[in-house]
């Protein structure tokens, strides 16, 4: 019914959208892998980052890609502070409590943004927002191509940080054996906070990549966060390559479902995959053993 070219384009589109999902999921899965918590505030934090990008563009005239540079450390600090001074102390290390605290945070953040910015939908416009890269007969969106490339690079960088730096080693040690890490003198709360900060820094990158083509309003985070949960579960909670592959996979599935079933019902595909994976193989398709 559709020409192969259209299907190919849809798949490529999905792949590129999936890259951004992967970036968002990367933060989520990293936090899960180390802290073993599900960060419900992830979507709200993404919204914060997107608003930051928008503000920098609207008030200071900064290019959204450029904003990523200062925003990454800012989000890192925000994440570090949240975990160190709010989530950690408030939840007393209990799983259920962390869920609730992050849920509470997301409600607060979302509605503070609503109070400040109203629920207006905001967009920004750059010269390249709707430029295309012509690949033979295929027209690929320029910002999405950038998004795909950056997502791959960021995953690589994160992997390097975890495997080649002392901090990374500490993080992995805490992820594996919290008590032991504590015994050899690793400051566990500090490592937790660093991990949370890194997760938030990923959101800064995602926000900068999204804004040239997307819009922001105080509730937009929830549209992404459920997809990100799906990606994380699919890729195996805590697995970085899993998040990348899961994100790309979900992107393609969503895009093709959207093409054939319509975008409304296409969404259901994601949730059904999510439920099925949770029920059948909660460790994820690409995940390590739990």
């Amino acid at each position: 019914m559709y020409s192969p070219q259209i299907i190919l384009e849809a798949a490529l589109n999905g792949l590129m959208t999936g890259a951004v999902y992967a970036l968002i999921a990367l933060g989520l899965t990293l936090i899960y892998g180390v802290l073993h918590i599900i960060n419900f505030a992830h979507g709200a934090l993404l919204t914060c980052a997107m608003f930051a990008v928008w503000i920098a563009w609207a008030w200071l005239g900064l290019d959204p890609y450029l904003v990523i540079v200062p925003l990454v450390p800012l989000m890192f600090v925000l994440g570090y502070g949240l975990q160190r001074f709010v989530i950690g102390p408030a939840s007393h290390g209990d799983d259920g409590n962390i869920l609730l605290v992050t849920l509470g945070l997301s409600i607060v953040l979302e509605n503070v943004l609503l109070a400040v910015f109203q629920s207006d939908t905001r967009t920004l416009d750059t010269d390249y927002s709707f430029q295309v890269v012509a690949l033979g007969p295929l027209l690929l969106s320029f910002p999405r191509v950038i998004g795909l490339a950056v997502a791959v690079v960021v995953t690589g960088l994160l992997w390097l940080v975890l495997n080649r730096t002392d901090t990374g080693k500490a993080i992995r040690a805490v992820a594996k054996e919290k008590l032991g890490a504590n015994l050899v003198g690793i400051d566990v709360p500090h490592v937790y906070a660093i991990t949370f900060g890194l997760g938030c820094a990923c959101l800064a990158v995602a926000a900068g990549l999204l804004m040239p083509t997307f819009y922001v309003n105080p509730r937009i985070g929830s549209a992404f966060v459920l997809v990100a949960f799906t990606v994380v579960v699919l890729g195996g909670m805590g697995s970085l390559p899993g998040a990348l592959l899961g994100g790309l996979f979900i992107g393609v599935v969503e895009s093709l479902c959207g093409l054939f079933l319509g975008d409304s019902l296409g969404q259901i595909g994601i949730f059904l995959i999510f439920i099925a994976v949770l029920l059948v193989r909660p460790t994820g398709l690409f995940g390590a053993k739990a």
Partner: protein, 414 residues
């Protein structure tokens, strides 16, 4: 149908009598519990409830609706208030419907307790449906400002009035006008793709269009639904590109329409026309200002003020002077307030029954919509009609029907 609350309410009578007495004495009604300490002015006042979603998903629209109502109230008060009530001032009792039906209902209850004599607003159909029903319990007149769902008027509630056109009427006119515009241009458009959001508004419209378009010689190649909010319009654009229709008819909200228009521009899809019906962005000044290229030549069939009415133009100027973008619900709320004030003036009382009677008898023509004199039949204003606008250059111009047009239609888009 059409059984009012009164007929079937066993305890209704005594309670309602009490309430009504309260309403008649609205001027100095002591408000029971929830009343904020509004100091009452020396001159008598008539309280009117303004219900708008100023928080939540519809906050932007609700804000504009409130603005329209406020401007009308200020104007009426400045001109001496309601003369038949000794120059009574109109006092606005504002309620935030928070973009949900039950919040709307709660606000109606509060307004009832504060002794309003009528309510105007609602904006979205679900809010209008729920709020007007809540008001019906008290025989409280409810003027729907925008809600287009035909369900709203089909319930036979005697308290509910709609000054603006409903779904059926809008689609009818949209199709008639489209057929005419196409004929005048030499019938360049034959094939159509419908793109709609999957909520109450988009789905309902798509259903009507699917039934009606083929009768008028258009072939529907495909109907594409998408959720709100939508993350991505690439798929929709791809499908449109592969179908290559003459005409794209979108019905969705602001964010999604902008995304669609920009993605189509990106994918170099140039149909002969984009003809929105009750388009979310196509009649919105902001869209034109922010994305002039993507917006060019988009036609909309929507609520719009009479462009030849000097009062309407002054209103638009005043709104834009406040740095806000002008949209159709400003003049709609403005007109509704004038209409209501006229009814209260003629009723000579703040009694609900009398106001409802006065509304039913209304022939009000002092509003700024292209509707002519008002005439309510079962609560629906018969003269209400949408008109066609097109984004040309940096402005939204009325292009059809010819009687009110400011500019010539640019179709097929050059």
């Amino acid at each position: 149908m059409g059984r009012s609350v009164q007929d079937s309410a066993p305890f209704g009578i005594s309670r309602r009598t009490v309430l009504k007495a309260g309403a008649a004495a609205a001027t100095f009604a002591t408000v029971p519990v929830a009343a904020p300490s509004i100091l009452r002015a020396q001159t008598p006042a008539v309280k009117i409830g303004i219900l708008q979603p100023v928080t939540g998903a519809l906050a932007h629209d609700g804000d504009l609706g409130r603005l329209g109502a406020e401007m009308a109230i200020n104007e009426i008060n400045a001109a001496g208030g309601i003369k038949s009530l000794g120059g009574a001032r109109i006092e606005m009792v504002f309620g935030d419907a928070r973009s949900t039906p039950e919040a709307g209902t709660q606000e109606v209850e509060r307004m009832q307790a504060e002794g309003v004599c009528a309510i105007v607003g609602g904006f979205a159909s679900p809010i209008c449906l729920a709020a007007s029903q809540a008001a019906a319990r008290y025989d409280l007149p409810y003027l729907v400002d925008v809600g287009v769902s035909d369900q709203i008027m089909a319930r036979g509630l005697t308290n509910t009035f709609r000054f603006s056109p409903g779904f059926g009427k809008v689609t009818q006119v949209a199709l008639d006008n489209l057929t005419r515009i196409n004929e005048l241009a030499g019938k360049p458009a034959k094939t159509v793709v419908l793109v709609h959001e999957d909520g109450l508004f988009g789905s309902g419209l798509a259903k009507l269009l699917q039934a009606e378009l083929p009768k008028r010689g258009f072939e529907i190649l495909e109907t594409i639904a998408h959720p709100t909010p939508a993350r991505d319009m690439s798929n929709v654009a791809l499908r449109i590109r592969s179908l290559n229709p003459d005409l794209v008819i979108p019905s969705n909200y602001y964010g999604e329409f902008v995304l669609l228009a920009r993605t189509m521009q990106q994918q170099r899809i140039k149909p002969k026309g984009v003809y929105a019906v009750l388009g979310g962005a196509a009649s919105n000044g902001r869209f034109v200002k922010e994305f002039p290229q993507a917006a060019q030549n988009v036609i909309d069939c929507n609520h719009w003020h009479d462009p030849k009415n000097p009062k309407a133009l002054a209103l638009r100027k005043a709104v834009e002077g406040q740095g806000k973008s002008f949209a159709y619900n400003v003049p709609l709320n403005y007109s509704n307030l004038l209409l209501l004030a006229d009814a209260i003036e003629r009723a000579g009382s703040a009694d609900r029954k009398t106001i409802i009677e006065a509304l039913n008898a209304s022939t009000f023509a002092g509003h700024i919509m292209p509707y002519g004199p008002t005439k309510f039949v079962n609560g629906q204003n018969e003269g209400a009609t949408p008109i066609n606008t097109q984004i040309q250059g940096e402005d939204i111009k009325v292009i059809f029907p010819e009687s009110v047009a400011e500019a010539k239609v640019n179709f097929p888009a050059a």
